[in-house]
Each structure stands twice: as structure tokens, then as C-alpha cells.
Amino acid sequence: MSRVSMALALILIACALSLINAQHHARKNFVELEHLKKEARTLDEEWGQLRLEQSTWAGSARIETMARTQLGLITPSLDRIRMEGASPP
């Protein structure tokens, strides 16, 4: 009888310890998850900012101004452009 009780008590202790361990792991993972989520948000925001930057630098108006002033390019008049049987996209 007392042996059984002893064994049960040991099992109980083991269970309790593993519960604590599991809880600890869960919390650690949760913290990491939160951390990564935050990072994802930051990266997402950064991506938005970079897209904004990209479209500002690559804006047609800016490129046209640069092409005209810095590179001295001009838009060809329509009769100097010829379309040769292009294939549709």
C-alpha cells in the first residue's frame, strides 16, 4: 500500500514538474512569437516605406525631367516612331 502511494506521489511530482516545464516553454515560445510578429510588422512597414520611396524615385515625372535635363533626351514625334507588327503582351 505504502509503496503504491509512494510511486503515485513520485509520478505526481514528476507531472507537476513537467507541467511547470511545459508552462515555461509555452511562455518562452509565446514571447518569441510576439517578438517575431512585431518584427514582421516592422518589416511590413519598412516594405511600405521602401515602395513609397521606390515609386517616388521612379516616378514618371522625375524620370522625364532627368532624361530631358541631364541626358538631353527628347520624345520623338509620332511620325518618327514606327510600330513593326508587335505581338500582344
Binding site: R27, F30, V31, E34, E45, G48, Q49, R51, L52, S55, T56, G59, S60, A61, E64, L78, D79, R80, I81, R82, M83, E84, G85, A86, S87, P88, P89
Partner: protein, 588 residues
């Protein structure tokens, strides 16, 4: 054993001492017990609240507004977080040097900043919103008590004024005010979520205490606009408005197959990123909201109305020599011709010819055709505040009104509506519903307006407009067949037709063999001399149409003309190219 009986151990205590000590101990116990009782049961809410305040956190999960992009994913409106500076005026303590430094960072005059911070209002005060990332870092480094940075989302429009009228803008509270931002507010707006979490000593979140209310991020929106065409349209329109010293103008580009609006631009325009000099007149999307008298761009509908009833054929000859009088109005032609075929009436834009055709119809028949083409009804693009234009009631239509409507006076349309109506000619009689959103091809169900035969014959009449002898030779696009119609209308000012103020317009389509694009151009009050639709709006049409055809890579459908560029001394790459093309058996 009885200790009392032993003399040695007998304790002589005064009864008062017993009472005092016993009483003190009991009192001490009572105090502790009472305190415990007080803390545990009477004061418990407060204490638990304090505990929770340290460990529990209610967090709002911010949701930002969705991105608006063009059909190729080019961003047109993006929300991005920015820091703004807030001050608790009661807590801010500044040294004079700090104030000057802060003013320097913010780019404000120190006196102005001081005045701003001196208002003894309770609570928080927004000092400046938004800050640049650099400013934010420098303010944070100062570490002045009472100043705090707060993260907010701000909307940016990278295309600036180029797509301003379509995209619109939001106000400070992120509510759409104009354009697509307003029309699709519900879709674009995010819904912030909430979560309740337990935190540890270090401030890390360790557990959710309640189910998380997930933040719903605003949906992204892909518009039908194509920024390449939009930019081209905007640029060419601006150039034409400047060159013609016009008051304003508008341009609409539609994909005739799908009803998608590929470009829409108006002048005057505004910059949605900087609304300090907000002017409601500049914010108006005139092409959609305002109406005008279209003038001769209406004549193809008059022709279609008589053709579909078999009253005329494209070859029928109309006598246009005599001045025509309807009611008390004399109908005149700018350039009189003795007689014209129906095709030539369109080509040379004869008012007399158009009126003679329209007068063979009953008012009901005429108005029916116009209604079917969508005049007098909202074009259905979903844009906030779109105009329906005005067509007179057939029951009360006087002959003189019917006559003037035949050449586009006494009727009002919006530019978008006009472009939409031309879809019937471009699409073999079918009009596809308009859309500002990108569409998948299978979604499209058209509405029949004219029979394919009528639509095709009107289209081939309109093709002659850009040929030699037509009103819009300058609307030609090399390599492609172009169909279109010019319009030159006297402006109605205070109920009187102005003698020297005009609206010049051109609506056309290409490639005419199977039109893909419709471009409608309107120039308001050109004052630099030229005022005919063909010479003012026609070149804008040609540039934009050429660019659109090129960027979509549509094959040319016109017979190749001999090369105009000849440089005899240098080998000409274009000519060699052409020689190869003919050798390869391409259509020459």
C-alpha cells in the same frame, strides 16, 4: 502538579499587568487580523486592480488602411507610420536652450513654439504632426519630460497630382474624402483589434488572457488605371492646356473591350500630399462630376439613329447648300458645302446635314437613341457624385431643340459619359459597364445599344474624319487606323452662347479595325487662337492614343507608309528594318 502550592515558584503578578499585556497582544492580533480582513475582502478590488495594472495590458492592435495601386501594382496611395510630437503642457519643463534646440529641430520659430506650449489647456497637445524619421530620433534623444512621440499612420500619394482626381484623398482621421478613397472607404479602412495579455517582470507578453480580437487590415485595391497611360495623358493634357492658354481640360482613356478606365485626368489639379492651399475648385473631378455641351461629338449618334431605322445609308446624299431654318433659328455651317453624303456630314462635321437627318426622326425616336447610348443617365462607374447629364424630355421637345441636339447643343454630358457612349461604336454596338477597378476579362457582360452593322458603319464614317479632308487630320496615329469625331461648342455663359469662348473636344478610338482604346479629350476655353476640336484636342488624342497602343503592344492595322525620315548619308536603321520586314512577308 500544583505549582501554586510550591512557594518558590509562586509568581506574584499584579492582575493589571496580566490584563495589560494580554490586552496588548490581543489588540495587536486584532489589528493584524483587521488589516488582513480589510485588504483581503474590503480593499480587494483596488489591490487586484493595481496588480493587474502591472501585469495585465489591454492593447489595441492598430490596423492600417489598405494600399491603392494601379493595374500593374504601382502604388498610388500607401499608409505608412509616422511619429508625431505631443506635449503634456502641465509637465513640460524646458530650459531656454532646450526650447531653442527643439524649435530648431522642428523648423519652427522659437517664439511660436513657446506660445504654442504656453496654452494652459489640460491634457495633451499636438505640437507637430507628422515628424520626419530624423526629427523624431532627435526629439527622442533630447528626453524632455512631458514630450512624447506618438505613432500614427499617414497616407502618402506617390503619384502626387498625376492621378489625384481618381484616387482622391483622406482626411486627418483617415476617412476617404474624395475619389476612390471615398467610394471604397469601407473596403480600404482597417478595423483595429484588441487583446488582453499578461506580462512578466521584464514587460514581455507571456499569455493572452482573453481571445484576441484580430485587427482587420484594410483591403488593398487595384485600380483599372495604367500609370504609364495615366502619366502620358496627364502630361499631354497639361501641355495642350498651357499651349492653348486654356482654362482647363479633361481626358478619359477607356479600354473598349472591358470598360476599364485606364486613365482619367483633369486640369486644374491639386497635390494630395500637400493640401495646405486647399481649393475645392481644383479638387473637382470635372470629367466625371461636371457636364458640358458636347457639340459635334454628338453627330455620330444622330447618324446612328437614322441608320438603324433605315432612313439613310452612309452613301445617301443630303443637300447642304441652302441655309436651314428651324423654328426661328438659322442653322449654319462653318465651311458650307453644296451637298454631302452621310459619311461626309460626319467627316466634315456639317451642322445642316446633321439637322436634316435628325428632323426625319420623331422626338421619341431621337431621344430613345440618346437614352440607349446612356445620355441623361449616370455612367455607373461608382465614382462619388458622378453627373448624369441632361437630355430634354421627348414629349415636350420643340423642333428647334431637336435640331440643336442633332449637333450637340441643348444637351449636357460629362466627358466620362461621352467616352462610355462611344464604346457602342468601338465594340460593335455593345457598351460594357465602366469600372475604376481592375477587371478580370470573364466578368464583362455588355449591353447592346446599336446593331453591329450600324456600329460598324458609323465607325467607318468616323474613320474618314482623320483622313485628308476630315476635321481631325491631326488626330492621326502613324501605323494605326483611327476613328473619331471632333467637337467645337460655344460655351454657355449665363444662358447665352459666348461668341469667343469654346469647348474643343475630340473622342476617338483605335485601332479602327477592332478598337481597343477610346480616348476622349476636352479643352475648356482655348484662348491662343486655335479653338477647333481637331486642332486643339486632336493632337492630344494622337499622342495619348499612340502611347497607349504602344504600351499595350497592339499590332498596327494601317498599311505602312513610306518612311518619312530620310538621311541619305547615314545608313538608316528604320529602312533596313523595313526591308527585312517586307522580305519576311509581313503585310507592307
Amino acid at each position: 502538579m500544583n505549582y501554586h502550592s510550591k512557594k518558590l515558584l509562586k509568581l506574584h503578578l499584579a492582575p493589571w499587568r496580566m490584563a495589560t499585556v494580554g490586552g496588548l497582544i490581543m489588540a495587536g492580533l486584532a489589528v493584524v487580523g483587521g488589516r488582513a480582513f480589510y485588504l483581503q475582502s474590503l480593499h480587494t478590488d483596488y489591490l487586484q486592480g493595481k496588480g493587474n495594472a502591472v501585469a495585465n495590458r489591454n492593447m489595441t492592435l492598430p490596423a492600417h488602411r489598405g494600399m491603392v495601386s494601379d493595374r500593374n501594382g504601382e502604388p498610388l496611395a500607401i499608409s505608412t507610420p509616422v511619429e508625431s510630437l505631443w506635449a503634456r503642457t502641465a509637465e513640460t519643463r524646458f530650459s531656454e536652450a532646450e526650447l531653442t534646440r527643439l524649435a530648431d529641430i522642428l523648423g519652427m520659430a522659437p517664439d511660436k513654439l513657446k506660445l504654442r506650449l504656453q496654452t494652459r489647456k489640460k491634457g495633451e497637445l499636438s505640437v507637430q504632426r507628422p515628424l520626419t524619421p530624423d526629427q523624431a530620433a532627435r526629439v527622442a534623444a533630447m528626453g524632455v519630460p512631458g514630450l512624447s512621440l506618438r505613432r500614427e499612420y499617414r497616407r502618402y500619394y506617390p503619384a502626387a497630382d498625376v492621378a489625384a482626381h481618381v484616387v482622391g484623398f483622406t482626411n486627418v482621421d483617415d476617412l476617404g474624402q474624395e475619389g476612390v478613397e471615398r467610394a471604397y472607404q469601407d473596403w480600404l479602412a482597417g478595423k483595429s483589434g484588441e487583446r488582453h495579455v499578461l506580462r512578466d517582470r521584464r514587460g514581455n507578453m507571456i499569455r493572452d488572457l482573453e481571445p484576441v480580437k484580430i485587427a482587420q487590415m484594410g483591403g488593398n485595391l487595384a485600380l483599372s488605371l495604367d500609370m504609364r497611360i495615366q502619366y502620358l495623358a496627364h502630361r499631354e493634357l497639361a501641355a495642350a492646356v498651357t499651349a492653348n492658354q486654356a482654362k482647363g481640360g479633361g481626358i478619359v482613356v477607356i479600354d473598349a473591350k472591358t470598360g476599364e478606365i485606364l486613365a482619367l485626368s483633369n486640369l486644374p489639379v491639386f497635390n494630395p500630399n500637400n493640401r495646405r492651399n486647399y481649393d475645392p475648385q481644383r479638387v473637382r473631378n470635372r470629367a466625371v462630376i461636371d457636364t458640358f455641351e458636347p457639340g459635334s461629338t454628338m453627330k455620330p449618334f444622330t447618324a446612328a439613329a437614322v441608320l438603324e431605322r433605315g432612313l439613310f445609308t452612309p452613301q445617301s446624299v443630303i443637300n447642304t447648300s441652302d441655309g436651314l431654318i428651324v423654328g426661328n433659328k438659322r442653322i449654319r455651317d462653318e465651311h458650307p458645302h453644296p451637298s454631302l453624303t452621310v459619311t461626309e456630314v460626319i467627316q466634315k462635321s456639317s451642322n445642316i446635314g446633321a439637322v436634316k437627318m435628325a428632323m426625319t426622326l420623331t422626338p421619341e425616336q431621337f431621344c430613345d437613341t440618346l437614352h440607349r447610348a446612356g445620355f441623361g443617365q449616370k455612367p455607373g462607374s461608382g465614382f462619388p457624385g458622378e453627373a448624369s447629364g441632361h437630355v430634354r424630355n421627348a414629349k415636350t421637345l420643340k423642333p428647334v431643340e431637336q435640331a440643336t441636339m442633332a449637333y450637340g447643343h441643348g444637351i449636357s454630358v460629362s466627358l466620362l459619359q461621352l467616352a462610355r457612349a462611344y464604346m457602342a461604336f468601338a465594340n460593335d454596338g455593345e457598351v460594357v459597364p465602366l469600372s475604376f477597378l481592375r477587371r478580370e476579362p470573364q466578368e464583362v457582360i455588355g449591353e447592346r445599344v446599336f446593331s453591329p452593322q450600324v456600329a460598324r458603319s458609323v465607325r467607318s464614317m468616323m474613320e474618314t474624319v482623320t483622313h485628308e479632308g476630315g476635321t481631325a487630320v491631326r488626330a492621326q496615329v502613324p501605323g494605326y487606323r483611327v476613328a473619331g469625331k471632333t467637337g467645337t461648342a460655344h460655351k454657355l455663359i449665363d444662358g447665352q452662347y459666348s461668341a469667343d469662348r469654346y469647348i474643343a473636344s475630340f473622342v476617338g478610338m483605335a485601332p479602327a479595325s477592332d478598337p481597343r482604346f477610346i480616348v476622349a479629350v476636352m479643352i475648356d476655353e482655348p484662348m491662343a487662337g486655335a479653338y477647333f476640336g481637331g486642332s486643339v484636342a486632336g493632337p492630344v488624342f494622337a499622342q495619348v492614343m499612340a502611347g497607349a497602343l504602344r504600351s499595350f503592344g497592339l499590332p498596327p492595322d494601317a498599311p505602312l507608309e513610306p518612311a518619312r525620315i530620310t538621311q541619305p548619308t547615314l545608313p538608316n536603321p528604320i529602312q533596313t528594318h523595313k526591308a527585312e520586314a517586307t522580305k519576311n512577308g509581313r503585310p507592307a
